[in-house]
Symmetry: C2
């Protein structure tokens, strides 16, 4: 948890709580839960039987530092503890009803119908070319679902009006895709500088080329920005955040 | 989930709900959540980097059938979905407050302070002799914690009186140890018949001998039975269940 990272997901939880008129302090347990899930997913993803990545954020990955069994267990511990963190919502002043909803949202969007389902698709197509719609579906689940959960949990902490949930989900899903395409673009630029690290898997760049991928990322960001127009003036921070993510550099 | 097993943990959830005067139908989502957690723990436990078991319940283990990456992901999916299952408590008529408490209990008792912590101790002492108190602490966490959670979640489904929680936790912990020692005894008898499968790890039998281990299992069962005397007549089923587990055969 203290190994770096941009904290995109917990920030979204706090920003959505605030944009919906809530006190971001109430959203802290939910924000923590979301980051716990994200961190577990990186640790399990890096394992030898998955992506077999020796490095994470420029440092040795968990199984390289602590061994494979400890990495597996630490991922399990983080995933399990995410739900204890979310359950602390009631201690921060969120209603028990909304805390239960937060548990359900996080579980479904992080699990087989969401993030884990995306990982499964990723495995299935490993080493083979996949069609653009498969890549989009995979990233919508692998990356978009947890980002959607992060946003929705912010609304639940704020006890937001039900009308805000659908546009917030659209924002999360669009931002998730924009974020993933931008990630692929940054990795592609990085590989062009270090040509020995060329990755063989299908990405938006191998499928569409860099220029079209850039346009696609901008387009999904625009969709995200449009979705949060219903928040009025307090939604400006959300739009700014989406645009900043699109412009980020390595 | 449909791969066999005795369903000890979900049965305990339903039995404790009933013994506390609740409708066991209300406890079904909690019982399912506990069994999801148990099943994930077996799948991850069998992985090559952990116990490296090719067989589970007389059939190929998950990674043998579906590959290591799919086994890892299915464990992650089961663990994640356990909390969606528990969150369905409200749909079955459990209060949102008690559903949040159930999430917290399951998370803490299944996580680093509970079951995963026990797994970590197990790994740490792998291939070395360990002292009796370490073995007891390991099994209290590895086996006892989730059994305690199963019992406590039954009380929460029944909205039981707070006075019942402490004796129920004692029952769960004692039963967990009795259950684990009995498991070791059954494995020991099995190994005596198939001498090529002798296990090298420390067990109650290697530390105390079979006779003393049997007495220890009986003693923990007796402690469990005593703990649920506060339930009065409806507690008889709980005592009977504990005694039946002690007398089980391979």
């Amino acid at each position: 948890l203290s190994y770096g990272g941009k904290r995109v997901r917990p920030l979204l939880t706090l920003l959505f709580c605030e944009a919906a008129g809530g006190d971001p302090a109430k959203a802290l347990p939910f924000a923590a839960g979301v980051e716990f899930v994200h961190t577990y997913s990186l640790i399990h993803d890096d394992l030898p039987c998955m992506d077999n990545d020796d490095m994470r954020r420029g440092k040795p990955s968990a199984h390289k530092r602590f061994g494979e069994a400890n990495a597996l267990l630490s991922g399990d511990a983080l995933l399990t503890h995410a739900f204890a963190a979310v359950s602390d919502g009631t201690k921060a002043g969120v209603s028990a009803e909304n805390t239960v909803r937060a548990v359900r949202e996080l579980s479904l969007l992080a699990g087989a119908p969401g993030m884990v389902g995306g990982q499964y698709i990723d495995l299935k197509y490993e080493g083979t070319d996949c069609a653009p719609d498969v890549l989009l579906q995979m990233d919508a689940l692998k990356t978009g679902a947890l980002i959607e959960a992060a946003c929705v949990l912010g609304l639940l902490a704020a006890d937001a009006d039900e009308s805000l949930f659908a546009p917030t989900r659209r924002f999360g899903r669009s931002l998730g895709l924009a974020f993933q395409i931008k990630d692929d673009l940054l990795e592609y630029e990085d590989e062009n500088e270090h040509s020995d690290e060329i990755n063989e898997k299908s990405t938006y760049i191998t499928l569409f080329g860099a220029e079209r991928a850039k346009a696609l990322a901008a387009d999904y960001t625009r969709q995200a920005v449009e979705a949060v127009s219903v928040f009025g003036a307090p939604g400006q921070t959300l739009s700014d955040f989406a645009c900043a993510l699109l412009k980020r550099n390595n």
